[in-house]
């Protein structure tokens, strides 16, 4: 489709960009005490964008802007997911960033980047969209300028980010050299029609996985993550843990169904374009990712660091499902990301709001919280058990779908290793709960919680509970969205 015809399918992105520009201008006109208004403006912009996105539900797949991006139900799913996660983060951030108007502008800019990442169809657009998310994320990580930890986080983030983008682009250049194309599906055709040397395809694949793996925190490209998660302001950490990771998963799925493999005629399984053992490599990386994430999380004393390693482990579970190359596994990952968004945001919200009261981010500071703030502590316990994957919580259903996809594809060893990892993770998640309820701290004064805190807590708590018993709407939405653009 040419540029002019494509515009009608690009209304959410256009609206978001316009909203971003308006937010910048409005910010200049406001007095300092009124600047919280920009947060509400950003939230409104996101809300209307989500409304436009929902109207694209079950759209017919098409290539837009001469094949630069595509629009298909999967893209719409990920766009809604990332936009909703940013909307939640706006409300998450209002208590701590009241007068920081640029912050909300930058959040809108990353949302645009994540929405583009969900629909890339060209090597150039992959680089551009990932850099748009990346460059803004570096600034967000260092947003608290006077805090040395925040600066350190952004420095480590940009050094790893810049290097891995360069390596990924080098891998792209080999793909381009082999096929002479930059459009993902023209590359797929070129790879399927002529037999290429598998060695070079493997080298290119490994180089590209370095870049994509950095975005979703895959071992061994995860070094930046614990420091960035600990150092960045907590709302930003929560933001990194869901939105950009979901967008990275979307790019990885697009990459798998176009360059690495082709979707079979019945749309259920993906067959590799070249014998480069991509599945085995991804499976090994998935096992390494979850094992290293879980084992490192066991040793953490700082709760934000523990959550950082736990998010590495969760990336491992999702990769484990992706490695089996079936459409069922993609569906499971999509469902898991929705569940993960609520439980992870919930845990970070508790950490964010309790840190000033407890005076520290150490896990031991949570001792006796069950007696000081019962509602918060119960909610935290629910989030922890949901992250472990215990029934009847949402995390259990999410993990169930992931493991079902792996077992159905008959990758039993992978599934067993995944289950063992979940058992390990029970230890450190349950430890937080134990500290909160079974131990009594020195300070037993009640912690006062504002109604805003409670309201947002319920926004995370209710879906975590409800999705554990009634998940049909979400899984059917994911199934509906399993409709890829396929060239």
């Amino acid at each position: 489709m040419n540029n002019l015809e494509s515009l009608q399918f690009f209304i959410p992105e256009l609206f978001l960009t316009a909203g971003l520009l308006v937010t910048i201008i409005v910010e200049l006109l406001l007095k300092k005490e009124q600047k919280v208004f920009t947060a509400y403006l950003a939230a409104t912009v996101l809300l209307i964008t989500i409304f436009f996105l929902i109207r694209q539900y079950a759209i017919e797949p098409a290539a837009l802007f001469g094949g630069m991006v595509v629009i298909d139900p999967m893209a719409v799913f990920f766009k809604i997911l990332t936009a909703v996660s940013t909307l939640i983060i706006v409300f998450f951030s209002i208590p701590s960033f009241r007068v920081k108007a640029e912050y909300y502008v930058l959040l809108l800019a990353t949302t645009l980047g994540m929405m583009l990442m969900a629909q890339v169809n060209d090597l150039l657009m992959i680089i551009l969209a990932m850099e748009l998310v990346g460059l803004v994320s570096y600034v967000l990580a260092g947003y608290r300028r006077s805090d040395p930890k925040s600066g350190e986080a952004s420095l480590k983030y940009i050094l790893f980010g810049a290097a891995s983008t360069g390596i990924m682009a080098f891998g792209f250049s080999y793909i381009y050299g082999l096929t002479g194309q930059t459009n993902l599906f023209e590359i797929q055709q070129a790879l399927q029609s002529t037999q290429h040397n598998p060695v070079i395809l493997f080298v290119a694949f490994v180089l590209i996985i370095a870049g994509l793996g950095y975005k979703i925190a895959m071992v061994p490209f995860h070094f930046w993550l614990p420091d960035v998660y600990e150092g960045a302001p907590t709302p930003v950490t929560a933001f990194f843990s869901v939105g950009p990771k979901a967008a990275g998963m979307a790019v990885l799925i697009r990459f798998i169904i176009s360059i690495v493999a082709g979707v079979s005629a019945d749309g259920q399984t993906f067959t590799a374009n070249a014998p480069i053992h991509a599945q085995e490599l991804l499976a090994v990386l998935a096992v390494l990712t979850m094992t290293l994430g879980n084992l490192s999380a066991l040793q953490q004393k700082n709760i934000k660091r523990m959550m950082a390693y736990s998010s590495i482990a969760h990336a491992g579970y999702m990769l484990m499902a992706l490695a089996v190359f079936t459409s069922q596994s993609v569906e499971a990952v999509m469902f898991y990301l929705v569940v993960y968004m609520f439980m992870n945001f919930g845990a970070f919200w508790v950490i964010h709001r309790m840190t000033p009261h407890l005076g520290s981010e150490e896990i031991t500071a949570y001792t006796g919280l069950g007696y000081r703030a019962p509602l918060v502590a119960v909610a935290m316990g629910v989030f922890m058990f949901s992250l472990t994957g215990l029934p009847p919580l949402a995390g259990f259903i999410g993990k169930f779908y992931l493991f079902a996809a792996v077992i159905k594809a008959e990758w039993y060893i992978l599934a067993v290793l995944g289950v063992l990892n979940s058992v390990v993770s029970l230890y450190y998640y349950a430890y937080v709960t134990k500290v909160m309820f079974l131990n009594r701290g020195d300070d037993e004064s009640a912690v006062s919680i504002s109604s805003y805190d409670t309201a947002l807590l319920l926004v995370f708590l209710i879906p975590t509970l409800v999705l554990g018993v009634y998940w049909v709407p979400v899984i059917s939405w994911a199934t509906q969205s399993l409709h890829f653009f396929l060239g």
Binding site: L123, L124, I127, L128, E131, L135, Y138, V139, G142, R145, P148, K149, G151, E152, S154, L155, K156, I158, L159, A162, A163, T165, G166, I167, A169, F170, F172, S173, Y174, Y176, G177, G180, Q181, T182, P226, D227, E230, G231, R305
Partner: protein, 101 residues
């Protein structure tokens, strides 16, 4: 003598040098230089493939965009480095390490 492989060898050498620089330097700005070397070798690859295969001009187009991205990345990196330098007056990555494992 001037053929595709000549350019690819140059770019491979510069790319490996870039990786080496990133691993070797402790100075933040030194690491950034390594990143610039990598991005330049990427551009050289794209442009030489565009010249020597029947591919169209897309290689050159990608190179233009990568150049712009490199500039944006350098701007952000320098802003971050200066922000840190104001606090601590040093740019050695191993010393910028407050968070313990």
């Amino acid at each position: 003598m001037i053929q595709l492989n000549t350019f690819l060898i140059i770019s491979a050498i510069v790319f490996s040098t870039g990786i080496f620089t990133i691993l070797y330097k402790k100075n933040v700005i030194g690491i950034l230089m390594g990143v610039e070397l990598i991005l330049n070798s990427v551009n050289l690859n794209f442009i030489s493939f565009a010249k020597y295969s029947d591919a169209q001009i897309n290689g050159q187009m990608i190179a233009i965009f990568i150049m712009i991205l490199a500039a944006a990345e350098a701007a952000i990196a320098l802003a971050i480095i200066l922000n840190i330098y104001r606090d601590r007056a040093m740019v050695d990555v191993t010393l910028i390490d407050e968070m313990k494992n």
